[in-house]
Chain length 218, copies 2
DNA sequence: AGATTGGATTTTGGATCCAGTATTGATTAT
DNA sequence: ATAATCAATACTGGATCCAAAATCCAATCT
């Protein structure tokens, strides 16, 4: 099972996502294909394919003969994305809970410990990644691949904002607490409780982001 | 406001969607880029970009260095897609109903009459298109652009099966009846009733498709 | 006979080049 | 001074060409 070197397209896709969600490409700004391609050391072809993927995910918009633009998520857009996530993730959790085994719970526990480890090490980026793995591991159990894909793309679209959230105050500790509360609820087979916690979590995140976005960036 | 000739990419995208949903490209089959490009009279570049879009919509899958494959929807996949549609469309209808004006209802009425006209003329294809316009007109009223995009992509993915549905027995008459029932419920501001009808409609469609897919195609 | 290896062929991935469209800026007229 | 026009420029869209990977097939070995 050897590791295949990633195609230029996959590389570009990752770099672009990072650049957009990290804000290095400003929302609303046009994407100069020549410049970006040169910057990344590839030609425009794989870049354009990566942009098409990002368009599908809603991270960039496209106008014929004018090109691609970094999609800026307004507060409304953000709220909408989180609302859709709520709908889809509730379904995923309920299905997952219905098929949950002890081994699954152990795996989720392990995933949660990785989140804690990253948190203890103060590695915000790794913590965000581990948090995502934890949630996806849970959702995967629903056995609905298409649903997972949709949820993933929503996470992609809101990635930048999620890292803002992780950077603030005691949010990291809160995440860990809530994960554990969800796991406890699942152990008790109390799905409603698990869903309730996750919803509260999302609501809190949205509220925190609203507060952050209100005040102009320093 | 002159009409711009569509780019090759847009043309290819439409043709591919049609070919896939009409079954002219068999599910599971690899997509030979050279052959398809020549068939459509374009080069491989716009074709590949169109395929990336379709990948995002889940109509084709992709493996690095192996290419694109027509995604075959199993019965399970179909059920999953319809379930997700149910979640998203319920949200759309509820939001739409909350902001519904008299003018909106008139527009929906007009859209419904187009469905009836196509039905009376026996034009199944046009009826399917008009039906889609009717539903989207309703969903649009929710004012959630991202939600609409997701719903559209789910409709795209299940297009082929929907036309099967329209071809069968008295399903066309049933569609018209249910549209009118939904409109009546919305007029009474009875959202729950509207949602209930739409859900029943989807359930019936899924059941009909299950029956159709069970028996081997003639 | 079956599995395996090596090379020929096919197909995808990526780079470069050209054409068509949009944008920019200077020039002119009001 | 401002608006409109038109040429120069920049950028996107698409075609072609080359490289790299995968597939296919025959020859070889166990």
């Amino acid at each position: 099972m050897s590791v295949r070197p990633p195609t230029a397209q996959q590389f570009v896709l990752g770099e672009l996502r990072r650049a957009i969600t990290a804000g290095r490409l400003r929302p609303g700004a046009p994407i100069r294909q020549d410049a970006v391609a040169e910057e990344l050391g590839v030609s425009r072809v794989p870049l354009r394919e990566a942009l098409k993927t990002l368009q599908g995910e809603g991270l960039v918009s496209y106008q014929a003969h004018r090109g691609y633009f970094v999609e800026s998520l307004s507060l409304d857009d953000l709220r909408e994305a989180y609302r859709i996530r709520q709908l889809l993730e509730e379904e995923a959790v309920r299905r997952a809970a219905a098929r949950l085994t002890g081994a699954d719970l152990d795996r989720l526990d392990a995933a949660e410990r990785e989140v804690e480890r990253a948190g203890a090490a103060g590695d915000v980026l790794e913590m965000a990644a581990a948090n995502r793995r934890f949630h996806m591991a849970l959702f995967e159990l629903a056995g609905m691949p298409r649903l997972i894909r949709l949820i993933q793309s929503l996470w992609d679209a809101t990635d930048a904002y999620r890292s803002m959230y992780y950077g603030e105050g005691d949010n990291r500790a809160r995440v860990v607490d809530e994960h554990n509360a969800v796991l406890a609820a699942l152990r008790k087979c109390d799905v409603d409780e698990a869903v309730r916690i996750l919803d509260a979590h999302r609501d809190h995140a949205v509220a925190a982001l609203e507060a952050l976005l209100e005040e102009p960036p320093s």
